[in-house]
């Protein structure tokens, strides 16, 4: 994983898999208003994924468009982080995942907006506003559930404990990338720390740090997600609405 193709692919896969997971909430949200909010966030992620994968296809120069990259790769060819492919769990787990993801994506897109690559800069400038809203929304729920009832506090803490190890992979050094993710860890901690404190939650200790997503080594969950996402396109290649 070195060139701009790998970088655009990794970011695009993060957004695509996050969109697919969030889309699973549609019609299952805790209330109708939240159902719409989660679908909106999923569509934001999908929009960023389309731009990034289209650009990745152009950088590769092998004639693959966004659909070829999204629908015609196996799980070993996906470069998303493990965090986004984890199952949704309960609503607390989904919000914990979204908090960590958006607290990573926001400074990433903001830094991209100022990078030398004009296409990535334009994508970053567009996506950063959406990420700011995602982060705001996730933090709002984490605070309410963490500092809510005894039961909501218990489940929110369990959710944060469950997904925290997967945050470390996001900031693995990537020398030579348009933006080195290792430089974003400070922004992440400066935002997530106070949110957890305000939510009366304990920041989990750093220890086990699962990784491998950027090298195509995924959890068992990704292939199931891809099977559902890709089945239509593989059964009916080129199908359109």
């Amino acid at each position: 994983m070195t060139g701009p193709f790998d970088f655009a692919l990794a970011l695009g896969d993060d957004a695509l898999v996050a969109a697919q997971r969030l889309g699973e909430w549609t019609s299952r949200g805790p209330e109708m208003e939240e159902d719409v909010a989660l679908a909106n966030i999923a569509l934001d992620q999908l929009g960023a994924a389309r731009l990034l994968l289209t650009y990745a296809g152009e950088l590769e120069g092998a004639g693959r468009d966004e659909d070829a990259l999204a629908y015609l790769r196996g799980d070993r060819e996906f470069r998303n982080c493990l965090l986004v492919e984890l199952p949704n769990g309960d609503f607390a787990v989904t919000m914990a995942k979204l908090l960590l993801l958006s607290a990573y994506q926001l400074p990433l897109y903001a830094a991209l907006a100022g990078c030398a690559d004009e296409r990535l800069a334009a994508i970053g400038a567009k996506a950063r506003k959406e990420s700011a809203y995602h982060r705001d929304h996730a933090a709002l729920w984490v605070r309410r559930l963490g500092d809510g009832t005894a039961e909501s506090h218990r489940r929110m803490q369990a959710a944060v404990d469950q997904v925290w190890p997967y945050a470390h992979e996001l900031f693995a050094p990537w020398p030579g990338a348009p933006v080195d993710p290792a430089t974003l860890r400070g922004d992440f901690d400066a935002y997530v720390g106070p949110v957890l404190a305000e939510a009366t939650l304990t920041r989990p200790a750093d220890g086990w740090a699962p990784a491998g997503g950027r090298d195509g080594l995924h959890t068992e969950h990704l292939s199931y997600l891809l099977a559902e996402m890709q089945v239509l396109h593989r059964a009916h290649p080129g199908a359109k609405w």
């Binding site: 209330e31 109708m32 939240e34 719409v36 909010a37 909106n40 705001d136 309410r144």
Partner: protein
């Protein structure tokens, strides 16, 4: 406990452009004001309908009752002198 116990009703007002006033666009359920504002953004400004949103607890609104419609509004019907067009402007009055 029903969902409405935790999530009261809020009325949503959206200002379409600078210079216009906020207009009532609908209502929604939310547990508190901040979430009501988020929900209003997602439900009522998806297609660039506005530049500013107000949310107001529906319970805080005091409304006139349809039963009182006659007492409230009918007496205004025959008071034509409340309209400026009722008055004739005397000759020689300038700047009116």
């Amino acid at each position: 406990m029903s969902a409405t116990d935790n999530t009261p009703l809020w009325e949503v007002f959206v200002r379409a452009r600078r210079g216009l006033s906020h207009t009532h666009v609908g209502s929604l359920h939310a547990p508190d004001a901040e979430l009501a504002l988020h929900n209003a953004r997602d439900l009522y400004t998806r297609r660039q309908e506005g530049v500013s949103i107000w949310v107001v607890p529906a319970a805080a609104i005091t409304a006139s009752s349809p039963d009182e419609k006659d007492a409230f509004f009918d007496p205004a019907a025959d008071k034509v002198y409340r309209h400026p067009t009722f008055y004739e402007v005397p000759d020689g009055v300038a700047h009116l």
